[in-house]
Every structure is written in C-alpha cells, then in structure tokens.
C-alpha cells in the first residue's frame, strides 16, 4: 500500500507537538515539515523570559534536527511556501519546488499587525531602526542587540511598549527588569482590555506604576518623529526603543489563496479539517473553531494531539479548549481563565485595591466558567483544576475560594488533655502532664522515643504543668 504523504506548513510549537504525538502513535506515513524560519522549532512562550534574562536564548530549542532524522521526518528549515495547489495536491515553495501531499496541515501561526502609526515604516519600506516587533526568536535577538548597543551610552535606555495586552505587559516588565526605563501605551481605556474588566485593569496599572512603569491608557500612538512617539493625547514620549505588541492576526494568506473558507482564521470542523477540504487541516493560531481563534499554546497543543489521533485513525472530535492565560512577568501576578468579559454567568468577586488584588470568578450552574486573578495567585492551583475539570461546586465554594485560608496555629500548652502529643507512641497531653520530668515521661509513656519530633512539646507541657503557683 502507498504510504500517505503528510505535509505540515509551519514549524512552531503546534507542529512540534503534532509530530511528537504522531511519532508516539506510530503514524504510518511520510511526514514533511516546511518551516520558514532557519532555526529549529523553539519555545516561543519563553521569548519574554529570554528578554528578561531569566532564560538563556540557546536553551529554547524543542527538538534538535537529528531527532527528526531519527524519526524519518523530512524537516526543511528556511522553506517558505508560496501557494497551495489544491487540484494538484501540492504546495509550491518560493524557489519553485513543488511538494505533493495527500494530507496537508497548516500550522502557520499568527503575524504581528502593525498599528497605524505614521513614521513606523521608512521611505525605503523598512521598519524604523528604533521600532521592534516581538514575535520571533529573530525579533528577540534584534531587540537584545539593540539594548546591548544602547547600554554603552551613559544615560538609561528608554523604551515605549505599544500595546497593553498580555504580551505588552510581559515585554514591559522584562525591559524594566533589565533596567530599561519603560512606558506603556494602550489605546483602550484600561490594560488587558481583552481579558479583564476595568477594575482589574486599574489594579494592574497601579502595580506597574509602583514598579516604575508609567502607563498611558486611552492613548493612541499616532506618529513617530525625531522628537519621539506622539500620542493622540498630545504627549510625546521620548524613546530609544519602540516595541510593538499590539496584537497579531492569524496567518491565513495561503489558505485564502487556495480558496478555503477563512474568517479570522481558517475555519475548521470537529476534526480540525477545513470546512471545504477534508484533507487540509489547521491547528494553532491560524485555525478558527466555532468562531474563535485562540492565540495560546495549550489549546494549540490540544488541537495538535487531537489531530494526531485523527490522522492515526482514532475516533476523536474536537470540542474546543479551556484556556488559562498567565502573565509571565516578574512582579505582576495575573491569570485569566477562559474569557471572563464575554462569558455569561454569576460573578463572584473580591477586589482590594489597597493591596492590589482583584479576583473574580464567573460561575454558571455552580461551575467556574471563567475568571480573573490579579495580585493574589495563592489559590490558582486549585481554581484552575476546578475550572479545567468543570467541577460542580457548592453555592458557597466560589466565595470561599476567594477568601484567605484560615491559619491553624496552636499553642501546645493550651492543648486539651485528650489531644495526642506523641503520635509514634500514641500518648496524649494528659498523660504527659501527669509526669514530673521529661525522663519520667519518656520512660513511662515512651513519648519522644519514636521520631523524636514531640520532644519540645513534651518539655513545654511538663514545665507548664509544674510551675509553682
């Protein structure tokens, strides 16, 4: 039998997971990966950690090229696809080479959008030297190099981050941790406006201010000049670096060119297949399922796992993903569960702007369907578990989850007589109190002769019981 030819366009994190899962399932077919970057697949999530300096840039690689070779996978780096020819069942690379497929997976990710700021693009069509995107390893390297160059000057480096979304805040904190004087410009009325409400945004703004980062909300950058970045509020921000994080859009040009249905992303069905072509699939940021594109790694990985199962002949259906977005930034604690601003349900919330916390759970049918946690993530491990597993809670639980845990300290001398003091020997406080000395307690009750952990309590009890009145 002829082996199936599977071609994957894009070599990001979704693709890595897809091929790992295919290998784990012993998928029988020839796999070709076409990646336009020259670098092997890397962990994009950690780029802001690299910028911050908490992660080495050379340790981002997910799989070395020899791994692909060992699995018999044809990995082609630096291969940009020009078009998909659906009738011919092939894809054509920019160098004219054609690669035939039986099944095609588009994992092309997203591309950053350029905000409408005059002066971003120079007359020759290139980006202004001060301006940086932040999407790829190359972008990160370029930004790091620029910081390095600027650091030789005696004054501090100044940066403006355009966009107050998750990525923007991560980049702003990373730059700030590196000693760069950083300001954030956000066009909407508050930070993280896609994910959190106004109260949350306000708490975050105060946090950033405390951390030394000025935030301009409701302000649009309109022009980059020699004086700096001009805002529509009249301010001009002087900056050495302008980092654009103002969103991205699914990379769908190939799909569009092939005549596949594209709305925001390539529209896919329950097997992640294009609604027009059962042999073309999309996963990750470029896919749109039930009107949603995700933009996060965990759902992309869930899609990759499901698609691997489908391609391996398993009977599985995609039902959407639950996402938890976490801000990876030192000093800013934010988690967003699902889509709290656009999900129906009862809202249970606790906000304390004095200490900078804002936590809210959206509850529907006693299930947490969305949530925001800002400034206090002490219960995040439990809350995300309950969210992910759709656990049905009691009426009071959502509230309790947002309360501080009760401390349960005690003083040994106040222990009731029946309280167990030495678990090893099974001795209660009363029996200890009946002894006159530590040695006697040890001899008579065998307390302290096991793990020895109760020795201090036994001493305290005996001393307290024999204090002369």
């Amino acid at each position: 039998m002829k082996r199936e030819k599977l071609v994957i366009v894009g070599n990001g994190m979704a693709t890595t997971r897809l091929v790992e899962e295919l290998v784990a399932r012993r998928y029988e077919g020839d796999i070709t990966i076409l990646g336009d970057e020259d670098h092997p697949a890397y962990n994009r999530i950690l780029l802001s950690a690299v910028l911050e300096g908490t992660h080495p840039i050379d340790a981002l690689t997910l799989r070395q090229p020899d791994w692909y070779a060992a699995q018999g996978i044809d990995l082609r780096l630096g291969s940009r696809v020009l078009e998909i020819e659906r009738e011919l069942r092939d894809v054509m690379l920019v160098d004219g080479q054609k690669i035939v497929f039986d099944k095609l997976v588009l994992a092309t990710g997203a591309i950053p959008t350029l905000p409408p700021i005059r002066g971003l693009i120079q007359l020759d069509g290139s980006l202004h030297p001060k301006v940086h995107a932040f999407r790829s390893l190359a972008d990160t390297q370029r930004l790091l190099d620029a910081m390095e160059e600027l650091s030789v000057e005696s004054r501090p480096v100044r940066a403006v981050v355009v966009g107050g979304g998750l990525l923007g805040l991560q980049v702003a904190r990373a730059l700030s941790v590196r000693g760069v004087e950083t300001e954030v410009v956000e066009g909407t009325e508050h930070l993280l406006s896609q994910q959190v409400d106004r109260k949350g945004g306000t708490v975050l703004k105060r946090h950033l201010k405390k951390l030394g980062t000025e935030v301009y909300t409701g302000a649009r950058a309109i022009r980059l000049t020699d004086e700096g970045l001009k805002l529509d509020t009249g301010y001009t921000l002087d900056a050495d670096l302008i980092v654009l994080t103002a969103g991205g859009r699914p990379s769908t040009a190939l799909a569009r060119g092939a005549g596949l249905t594209v709305r925001r992303g390539l529209v896919v069905g329950e097997h992640l297949q294009s609604v027009d072509d059962d042999n073309i699939f999309a996963i990750g940021d470029c896919a749109e399922f039930e009107g949603r594109v995700t933009g996060f790694v965990p759902p992309a990985w869930e899609q990759a796992t499901l698609l691997a199962a489908h391609l391996s002949g398993e009977d599985v259906k995609y039902e959407g993903s639950r996402s938890v977005a976490r801000l990876r930034a030192t000093g800013l604690d934010v988690a967003v569960l699902g889509d709290p601003e656009h999900t129906e349900g009862d809202i249970v919330e606790v906000t304390n702007p004095i200490i900078g916390t804002h936590r809210k759970l959206v509850v529907d049918g006693n299930v947490i369907v969305a949530g925001t946690l800002i400034g206090d993530l002490s219960r995040i491990g439990l809350i995300t578990q309950l969210f992910d597993r759709r656990t049905i809670l009691s009426d009071t639980e959502p509230g309790e989850l947002l309360m501080a845990e009760r401390p349960d300290g005690d003083s040994s001398t106040l222990l009731p007589d029946e309280a167990e003091v030495c678990a090893c020997a099974g001795v209660n406080a009363g029996r200890i109190r009946s002894c006159r000395t530590f040695e006697e307690a040890k001899e008579k009750t065998r307390a302290t002769t096991g793990c020895g952990g109760c020795a201090s309590v036994v001493r305290e009890l005996i001393e307290a019981a024999h204090v002369p009145v």
């Binding site: 950690a49 340790a59 791994w67 639980e397 020997a425």
Partner: protein
Amino acid sequence: MTTTTHCPYCSLQCGMKLSGTRKLEVSEWAEFPVNKGAMCRKGWTSAELLHHRERLTTPLIKEPTGEFRPASWEEALDYVGERLNGLRAQHGPDSIGIFGGGGLTNEKAYQLGKFARVAVGTSQIDYNGRWCMSSAANAGSRAFGVDRGLPFPLADIAEADVLILVGSNLAETMPPAARHLVESREKGHHVVVIDPRRTATADKADTFLQPVPGTDLALAQSLLHLIVANGHVDEEYVASRTTGWEAVKNSVMSWWPERGERVTGIPASELKELADLVGTAEKVMILTARGPEQQAQGSDTVLAWINIALALGMQGKEHSGYGCLTGQGNGQGGREHGQKSDQLPGYRMIDDPAAREHVAGVWGIPAESIPGKGRSAYELLDALGQDNGPKALLVFGSNIIVSAPNANHVGERLDALELLVVADMVMSETAARADVILPITQWAEETGTMTNLEGRVILRQRAITPPAGVRSDLEIIEGLAERLKSPIAFSVEPEEIFAELGRASAGGKADYSGITYDLIREQKGVFWPAPAGVIGTDGHVGTERMFTESFATPSGRANFIAVEHRGAAEQPDAEYPVHLTTGRVLAQYQSGAQTRRIRDLTDDGAFVEMHPMLATRLGTADGELVRVETRRGEMVAPVRVVRTIRPDTVFVPFHWVGANKLTNDALDPASRMPEFKVCAARVSEAAKVNGQVVVA
C-alpha cells in the same frame, strides 16, 4: 536471656532487644545505628502478637461445607502435595502459581524462588513487593544499572543541605526515620515535602508543596526546566558521568512553570522558589516513596526525579543524590533473590543465559530446566482460574485480598481457583478464603536475614521457642518440595541457606557472597554489594555508599532517560468528580493482619479524609458515614474533615478491606506497578434502609 533482633514491620528494621522466656519484653538496642534505640508504637507492641489468642497453631483444611477442620501437618502437606501433583500432571507446571511477600526473610525469598523454578517447575511466581517499590527499582536499574533503595546510609539524609521527600509520609510510616528530619532542621538545612496531603511529615518541613495526585512527573519536569533556565546544571558532572542529557534537556523545554502549575496545581511562584533552592544548594537529596511510585507512570516519574539529581551533579556525591524509601520489611532483599517473576538470585535477570548458567550450577540442575519469565503480581492474580492461568496458588507472607488493587475482581479470581493454600500466622482475610491454611512461625521465633531500605543486610535472631503446632515457611517449602519429587533437596537451616544464597548471588548486582551471620553480628549489618574477599575502604565488608566512582551500567555512566507526563490512567469526570488517593496510618502496617490484632494500636477502622470545602459540597460532616464509589467498587466509612488535604481529593487508608476495592488496576508499562495512588471517585451520603447503612 536477651536477644538482639529487629522489628517485624517496615523497611527501617529497627534494632530491638527481646528478653524473657515466656512473655517477651521489648527494649531498646541503642547501639544499632539505624534507629539508635528509637521505635514507634508498632515496634514497642510487636511482641503481643506472639501469644495472641487468634494465633493459628494447627493446619486447617476446608471442608466442602466451607468450614475449616484441624489437620495434622502430614495430612495437610500430603493433601496439598497430592493436589499440586495432580494439577501439574494434568495442566503442566504453570498451572501452579506462587505468591510471595516483601516481608519474608532473604532465606525464604530465595528458597521460594528456587522452589518454584525447581521443585514445581513453574514460571508463575511473583510477590507483593511489585506493589511496593517496583517502579523505583525499575527506574534505578535503568538509570544507575542497579537498584538499591538508598545508595547511602539513612543517617546521610540529615547532612544534605536540601532534602526533598516526594510522596513519603515517613513520620507516620517509619517514625524513627523522622529523627533525621528533626536533626536536619536543627542543623539549619532545608526540608521539602511534596504530598497531596499535609501529613505529619509535611508538618516537619520548611517547604510544603501540595500537588494534584498523579502529577509528580510534571512537577519534576517543570523543576528541571527551571534548573536549566537558571543555569544551575552541573555541566562538568553531566559531561563526565552521564549519557543522554540532550534529549532530557529538550524534553523539559516545554515544561515552563505556568504549564507545570496548570497540571500540578502548584503555583508557578512555588516552583520557582524550589528551583532556586535546589539550584543553589551544595548538597541536594531527593527521596521518593509510594506516592510518586504507585502510579501507572510511576517508573517514569522516578526517572524524572533522578534526572534532576543527575543534572545537579548529585548522584554519587557525599550526602546527596536520589534514593527510594522502601516500604516493606524486606522489600529490598525480597526483590533480589528470585521471588520476582523475571529474576534469579543476586538481582540477575531470568532471561540472561549467563545468569541461568550460574544459578543452575549452584542449584545443581541443568540451566534449561529453569523456566522463563512469568507474570507480574497483578497479572498473575488476574490470570487465576482463567484458561491459561494458574489453577492453584500458594501464598506466603501476603494478605492479597486487602493489599491488591481492584480487590473485588481479585476476590473473584481467587474464588475461581481449584486450590488456594495460604501460609499465615493468623486468619487473615486471604487465609479465610483458602482451602488449606498452614500456620507459621513469627519473626521472634525464627532466624534469618533481612535487607533494610539502605541495602544493609541485618540478622533477625530467634528469641523464643515457637508454640507447638507451627512450622516455618522454610519447613513448609521443604515438605512440599519432597512431595513434589523435587530433583534437589531443600534445606531448612537459615544459615546454610544463606551461604547458598551467597554463592548464587556471587557476581550478580546484589552480591551477598562476602556476608556471613557472624559478620552481620560484628558489623551490625553489612551493605551489599559485598563480594567475597573484598574489604571496603573503611575496613568493613560491603559497600556503604554507592556510585562514588562509577555507576553499575556497562559504560560506568548514569543514564539520563527522557520521559513524558501522561497523567493518571483515570481522570475525574462528571460522574466521578474527585481524586481518590490511598495510604497508611501510623498505628497500622500494610494489610493490618498483624497490627489490627494488637490491643495497644488504635484501630478505628477506615475513614474518608476530606477538606471542609468538599464536605460542604457533599453536605456531610465529620463523623458521618459516606459511600465512596469508583468504577470498580465501593465502600462506606465515616468522614474525617481536615484542612490538610487538597479540596479536590479524598484519602482512604488501605489497612482494611475497602480501599482497594476502589483502586485502579492500571499498570505501569515498565514496572507493572498498579495505580494505587490515584483514581477517580464519587462520594455521597451513605443511604440507609431501616436505619442501617447499606453496603454492597
């Protein structure tokens, strides 16, 4: 007269003195290095069972009516021999299964393995140690080339700068060991405990992490991710003493802390703090116990923690490195001498032609007559009474019906047998189902060696004459071997058997050939490997600390092995919404057949531990009866409301019939360990009919 011996329970094998002739008194043996005289209440009260009124002192044969009648030893052994001979003639030797235990002495474990392979000729032998530390054993063998629970003396744990206990509640399961935690903290060292419950052990820790049950592997991956990111890998050690690092390094790249947080339920901030702590410490020690090991991904989980020990350059370094806290009294020795389905004495593999030749030479039989690999413990039980499975089962040192997972199913399999023979000292739940019960001697009534959790071979010495009517397991094996027309004779003298065991183990991984009873008395225990004629650097026979120079792999290097988190086999869903985990309590040991019969050990029965938030959700309260159900079975027990457990998890101790009706029989692909530690459960108010709780 005073005899020095060891406690009959856990793998610590605390030294103790027994004195008196009729009624034995337990007193401290302060000179024994492992516990220095300390004992828990199980040890102090252990002599009580010797004269217990429930002690069996005559063989019993079950009548067709289901009642037991006393029989003479001759009659009982003749009966068993005749039935076994009949089955063997009709269905072949594999129709006879043998089930051993991790509490048996080395001599018994050795004789039992030999009895199976030579006297019976069956491949169908395994033991309950498979359910104890087999995952750690498998991982240790793959990473280091050898499996010795602790590759260093227990006392070393107080010397480590950072001690991480993964899923060990040693303060309750082996209380005298917790002295080292207290000592460690007194020295200003840092103790980390990882457990879904804040146990008595966690209360002694500086750092406590409370993961979702079944996610210890993901936790380790995230930790190693951060260690790499922080630049804390010991590159020189990795380059000179290990292989396979690149693949492991790549595999942890996708475990950034926020992903770890989502899977493990441990906040990323806590993961980062722990990574900083271990990354900057001079000496880091990591010990796993049943928590991470009794999972369907148990051996991979242990490997993930071993990878951390290797990346930090700790394995083989003084007062550092990875170790496993073995559970059962002779869990270590029990897995070295041939009662495991795939092994021959000396930790030799049964499918290794050289190993077969060597052992056959010692036994005086042709190598080809030794059967091949048999089924692992749970698979053996699962096959009982099936077409290709054993039709008879001989049980030594195990109370299967309480300790096996998916106990309802195991009960059905036992019932499908044509013959069940149980050697036990009391009427355990498993003995009660037997066709023949053979009453045996107890620890203080016999002599033999045990190998404790440190790989220290110690001597259990006879302190009292056994009651009339009981025999030792060794005598039973001898009696049955004779009736099965064994081509070779079986000794009943422990010291003689030990010498033979030494010869059989010579040149193997667990080499005992240089050890004698006298040497054990003199050195207060001898650490294996102890090849004959080799004196260690400290003038002692044996190897106190392993891996200081090289590993037991062919290359002499430790193997990094890349692993991936798969998660528990059964995840909570709408029908079974909470995690169930199981474990031990201080006053009881294993199936409780011994400890539940001791007056001074509190026996309040099973209970269901849960967080107040969950209790509120279920509408129950402390002390009320609830029903816990899984896809396999159910039990009813009172609720214990505690703030120390994760609110998404319930805990049930397994010493009583019940907990293991619930547990999952999903097996680890490498170690064949069942997933005792996590499954999905439903808890509800126990329904009452006419005021009585209905139990299925």
